[in-house]
Symmetry: C2
């Protein structure tokens, strides 16, 4: 009996969920819901209906888990609670500071609707969160470090694009190799923002724009760039599209801790991701969480969860016996 998956929103994330759900032996993609005219949305799967999101409520009995593929800024805070009242839902809400508030809203809606919701699935929050929690539980005496990149930051790219005279831009976040090495040495360095990451910007100017002024605007932008060593390259739109339209990303979670009567033994736990496609990896996590959500719902759990509440075995399509025999 397959888990029937629905997708709300068909951008990079929705498409990634479609690919991952179709590949899963225990899942079936039931429908894709869109705010656009369904006829205008071309999905990969010829056999899956594209439906207006206005009709979503009619699908309550035909979908086991709905994966909400909206943005964290304005979509998910509204959508996830709304759909959690009708379905088991999964989202990738990634505004770390607002997770407690989002959790509370989704929890109330999911409990009222007698559903399970799993929020903030992906890699950070998501796999990186798991690594932080495991490493902290095992090495309570220690220090956490998270590095991101090399990869495109959508928020920083957008910030550059809002500067007058900028036609297009991509911004890469890059971990500083010396900082990574210092952390791996077990020295537990106190690292400033500037010491951890550099920012590299590829910018296409509007005709007649003042490059020096734009560069100054970028490098002094508070929060986004002022606290970092930032490099700005001005390139043609053609070069931007050719060389900088990839969606690669990744990063490192490291915990450096100590054990022993006098804390004389040092231990380094390191987790890293090197991803060709940030959205497809994120959606691979979302789909695994959908499997877990269905299992938790079937055993009577209700309300909002995160990946920290999911027994790892629930994410796998393999049985407990198989996991113990082959992966334990």
């Amino acid at each position: 009996m397959s888990i029937k998956i629905g997708i709300i929103g068909y951008g990079n994330l929705g498409r990634g969920v479609e690919i991952a759900a179709k590949a899963a032996p225990d899942m079936e993609l039931a429908a894709v819901f869109t705010r656009r005219d369904p006829k205008s949305v071309a999905i990969l799967s010829a056999d899956v209906p594209v439906v207006s999101v206005d009709e979503v409520e009619q699908w309550k009995d035909r979908i086991d888990v709905m994966i909400v593929c909206g943005g964290s800024a304005t979509d998910l805070p509204v959508q996830t609670p709304k759909y959690a009242s009708m379905f088991n839902v999964i989202d990738s809400f990634d505004t770390h500071a607002r997770i407690p508030e989002h959790f509370a809203n989704v929890d109330a809606a999911a409990k009222a609707g007698e559903h399970v919701a799993v929020i903030s699935c992906g890699w950070d929050p998501g796999m990186f969160s798991l690594m932080r929690v495991y490493a902290n539980a095992v090495l309570p005496d220690g220090q956490d470090y998270t590095f991101w990149g090399k990869g495109v930051s959508q928020g920083h790219s957008d910030a550059i694009r809002r500067i007058p005279g900028v036609k297009n831009a991509k911004q890469y976040t890059i971990p500083v190799p010396a900082a990574l090495e210092a952390v791996r040495s077990g020295a537990n360095p106190a690292l400033t923002t500037r010491q951890k990451h550099t920012r590299e910007c590829f910018v296409v100017l509007e005709e007649g724009a003042d490059a020096a002024w734009v560069e100054q605007k970028i490098k002094t932008m508070p929060n986004y760039f002022a606290d970092y060593d930032t490099t700005v390259h001005f390139i043609s739109e053609e070069e931007l599209l050719t060389n900088h339209s990839g969606m690669a990303h990744g990063g490192f979670v490291i915990r450096s801790g100590a054990t022993g009567v006098n804390k004389e033994h040092k231990h380094i736990i390191e987790y890293s991701l090197k991803l060709d496609s940030n959205p497809e990896f994120t959606t691979s996590v979302l789909v695994a969480c959908a499997r877990a959500a269905q299992r938790m719902w079937e055993e009577g759990q209700r309300g909002c969860k995160t990946i920290l509440d999911i027994p790892p075995a629930y994410l796998s399509e393999k049985s407990g016996e198989e996991l113990r025999a082959h992966l334990l």
Copy 2:
């Protein structure tokens, strides 16, 4: 209300549990049980009783979770089921091939005694198992690689010590850097045993022993050394004790997978451990699992579990709210 911890067996593991349990803010070390004369066992904690294991049953109401610190070859297959009938128990059973059988025996005993048992806690099995399961769930299309070392293999050191003419020996398992790099490149190489690890032996000879004969014996030993590139160094007992009595270990779990319509996007997930003290890191995991066992028991779960069945949040002494606010 502290979790009351008991320890059965006081060697390197028992001592590691003692250190970790005493450091945990939510735990209390209740007693250490030994097969030896309790008066002959000096533990670190002056305030904790050392008790004969024959009296263990009298402690049923004074211990929440018993951590069984025996060896996997002969101790744990007998001890863990025995004590699971009296207590919630944790062990570090690490004979991968015999886990299904051990699980079944412990499960029956724990269910009969209405307790929770968590077996095979540590780093492999343990943290490495978690990484394999998560990485497989998220990247179902891919390949797993596990490398161990650099670190001392007890089994291989023992095998050398059984050769006539050998007085003492230590054997290091070392991952081959070129193999690690090939895996990290995403090439999904098929690696032979010889290509993955080398073995380096430090051997102290009995007086008059034939070094060339011993070296030949080591290098051709089936299963242990014949399939590896092995280096043998003959050193003095003093040098062995001075330079080779550490208990450092570690290793790497890597999954190399692909997503996309045509599997065109490659992803590398890598987890690594660099441990100054193999037994102290192992026992840090055991103690975190003891916390989870108590929670699972309190919510009514019974029987045998592994770390794959434990919601990650249960391993932490922090609340769900704290974890979501700070580590998610």
